[in-house]
Symmetry: C5
Subunit: 155 residues, 5 copies
């Protein structure tokens, strides 16, 4: 099985390396194919090429998003395009993004990125190994990526 990783040179954390390491641990027999692009708007076509031209079964994409309104629009555009690629291919793309407005402290932002990429890489591995049943035990459990889980709302 081949799994793709798309990351960017815009990102301030080497999220591709973290995703690659986690996916190798979780899916030891998988072939990992990486693709690095400048920024988030370059990600969707790269993901589509990994799925269609390289034969990947699924892709994890690692975007880094600035603070301005223009950055937020670009985020929406890139994420919508990733939806289109998933719909056209019937394959999962886990669309991970870290937003610079999530924390003022660079070290906190870095920790968010590491936690988010690690957990979402595991999510993707579980989807690949067990399909729609793999995450079923955690349905409604208030899991979070980038932060601690918040848990379910008590009745």
């Amino acid at each position: 099985m081949k799994v793709g990783i798309v990351d960017t040179t815009f990102s301030r954390v080497d999220m591709g390396r973290i995703a690659e390491k986690t996916l190798r641990d979780e899916l030891p027999n998988a072939v990992i194919i990486r693709y690095t692009v400048p920024g988030i708007k370059d990600i969707p076509v790269a993901a589509k090429k990994l799925l269609e031209e390289k034969g990947c079964e699924a892709v994890i994409t690692l975007g880094w998003v600035g603070k301005t309104i223009t950055d937020k629009i670009s985020y929406g555009v890139a994420s919508m395009a990733l939806q289109l690629v998933q719909i056209l291919t019937n394959k999962h793309i886990v669309d991970v993004t870290v937003h610079e407005d999530e924390a003022d402290n660079p070290s906190v932002l870095r920790d968010i990125a590491i936690d988010r990429v690690t957990k979402h890489s595991k999510n993707l591995a579980l989807l690949l190994r067990k399909g729609g049943e793999g995450l079923r035990p955690y349905a409604g459990k208030g899991l979070r990526q980038g932060h601690k889980d918040v848990g379910p709302l008590e009745s």
Copy 2:
């Protein structure tokens, strides 16, 4: 007849369980197929796979949306993708979402989720049993899911 349910691990209420129970009551002969994903952006491809690969006649999706502008953008992206899946398949997907800015009180938010999922599961069952005529008696009646009905505006 097969009916699909997509829910998430991000949600703080186990909406999939409520939908499954309600659909079993409303459509006792239907086969219910569930699919759990991490978050709302993972829902549309899961819904498409349930319709195309699992043979579902319709799907109910159960999203939980955070409070930030990024969350709102992600909501728009995921909902637009669910529109595309419906348009490509000519099948209904009832796109249920609970937004964390709907209530500060966790218990109120939980009640909103339960009410909304229950009512929309019944809506989907009615669409499946009677098509576009099933909800006709309630057209313009100001029905609400998550809250009490507000009723029609009097002349």
Copy 3:
């Protein structure tokens, strides 16, 4: 000729009834097919089914939109999906919506809804009877639906 009407149970005015009555007056030989759904996000696939599965020549859709930012996003999503249906079918869908932020007074809001649905039903009838030439005498005339016409800007 068949013409479709999609309305919702969320609406607080029975706009489907008004559209049906107006279309029957304007197009006495047309067959009117109605389809009622829960809310605006359920409208586009219903419109597509009316065009493709029921053989409608055109559709009028009647949405009611709440006041929150989430409602506005849902409006954009539903309207975009209605554009896609039109583009895929090359048929007109007149996408009528009433927004709760248009008036605080319920009676005013109701009057807006009635006026808008009536006028847009007539617009659709004219497009069906005369194509792109039917509304030509009114081009640039500042017509409004839901309110009185504002007229052209004088030089």
Copy 4:
């Protein structure tokens, strides 16, 4: 060669007449086909029908956009749909819009409309006569439609 014009009854300036006159001056041998619709959300399917059913080589669309957030969303939806039509047909649609928030003074708004439609009709004629090379001498020149050109930024 056939060229299409789509205008609306919502507009407060008869932009279709201005576009038709300008296109006749610029492309004396072209056949001009007009299509009038109620508002901006009705424009894209009309443009597609002109390109596909009437054999137009290109279209200019003339939208008038209100001041509310709902109007802005509708603008985004209609413009996105016009992008889809262009992408599906590989033909240019010059998407001209006048926004009521561009000027408080009606006479100024009218002048903006006239200037913008005239200049964009000439732009379309140039694209049709000379393709991607026709506007090359003006690349980066800070041309504006609706207002005076602002010119390039000096070094």
Copy 5:
């Protein structure tokens, strides 16, 4: 190999000239094909024509975006359309935009444009020469176009 450049007459900097010069330096054997359009909403179909009708392997597009909310919506629309073109063709389009709200000082804005076009032209050349591996050494390095690189977040 053919590479396309789309620029606009709306831009206040002749970005097409800068991109052409940089691409000629980076890809001396490539044939550069240019296409000038009025504004950003005219870019996507031009890019698609360059890819499909002129046989380009990739395209760089050079948009200039005004300060108003309407301009921001138009940016989102044009960028989304560029995503669609990339997804339909499986080819890269590097979507470069300069926004007038990035700097009040015209000279600073001009410097942003020059830096951004130059660096992104080099990015495109690298993607064309080496595919998804070419930018790998810079993954997560906090590169910026239009400004100095900000570098990775230290642990």
